[in-house]
């Protein structure tokens, strides 16, 4: 509940973005980066309700092993009891805003346990966000393990 509250608070604090077609501002970039961090916190807290606010209904998620998930499957995977993401650390991210769509590229390190077995991944991701009624929502997210 605390996490959900903090995400809601973030959405209120960060200034609302302009209407479609507006010139991208640094505010858009800051807002999206804030939402990325809120996403990590929500995953660590297994807070599916907080994630619902960040993810569009048609979101497509591709996991590091190529598994394809829709929004409800992704939310179920976050809430699953068998997975415990203990720490998610993001390295510097880049945001490119193209009017009502934005692309975030970055690297994150996730450690935790899955079905009782510890794991540690370093992954590169691309997230695509769309501005809808003044709010940014993630419509696509894909991760790839960094092998070299």
């Amino acid at each position: 509940m605390k996490k959900l509250f903090s995400v809601l608070l973030l959405l209120l604090i960060v200034p609302r973005t302009h209407a479609q077609g507006a010139v991208p501002t640094q505010a858009d970039e800051s807002r999206i980066l804030t939402l990325e961090l809120a996403w990590n916190q929500a995953v660590q807290g297994k807070d599916a309700k907080a994630l619902e606010i960040l993810i569009a209904p048609e979101m497509v998620y591709v996991e590091y092993d190529g598994t394809l998930m829709n929004r409800s499957e992704y939310l179920a995977s976050v809430a699953a009891r068998s997975v415990h993401a203990e720490q998610i650390l993001c390295e510097p991210m880049t945001v490119r805003v193209y009017g009502p769509i934005a692309v975030v590229n970055g690297v994150y390190r996730e450690t935790g346990a899955k079905s009782g077995k510890p794991y540690s991944h370093r992954e590169r991701f691309t997230d695509t966000w769309v501005r809808r009624e003044g709010r940014w929502l993630c419509v696509a997210s894909q991760s790839t393990l960094i092998a070299r």
Binding site: V60, D65, G66, A147
Partner: protein
């Protein structure tokens, strides 16, 4: 009577607008899917000039092993003499159009030789496209191997 006519005109205009929007969306979906197929063909032929027109200068490409490439890196990789792609086939694709931007997700298989060694990969991709003055260009692409 006047009101009835006005309401009828409004309803007809709204219907026409909805149909026109639907047609435009469908046309844009076809365009980006055609460009995805053109991309495959260009890679098979090592045709960097054709790819140059499809890829935006801001492109960020993430390869199956987590390597990140700019447009110049990607084009150089396509042209590399050590690389001989034989087949690049898309098994399935799905395009979501958001006005002047689109997200395409799908599965494709690539086969060829690199540094004399044969390779065969099957992976999932997410490509983000934007329309610049009516010309669709890809701004982000990520490829993840399907391992399970």
């Amino acid at each position: 009577m006047r009101k009835t006519i006005a309401v009828t005109v409004l309803m007809l205009t709204a219907s026409w607008f909805a149909i026109a929007q639907g047609e435009e969306q469908s046309s844009n979906q076809s365009k980006v899917i055609a460009l995805e197929n053109a991309w495959n063909q260009a890679e098979e032929r090592k045709d960097a000039k054709a790819l140059d027109t499809i890829l935006d200068n801001s492109l960020v490409y993430t390869d199956y092993d987590g390597t990140m490439m700019t447009k110049a890196d990607f084009l150089a990789n396509v042209k590399a003499p050590s690389r001989h792609p034989e087949q690049q086939v898309t098994e399935s694709m799905n395009a979501h159009v958001y006005g002047d931007s689109a997200v395409v997700t799908g599965v494709y298989r690539v086969k060829g030789t690199e540094n004399g060694k044969p390779y065969l990969r099957r992976g999932r991709f997410t490509d983000t496209w934007i329309s610049r003055g009516g010309v669709w260009v890809c701004v982000a692409s990520q490829y993840t191997l399907i391992t399970k």
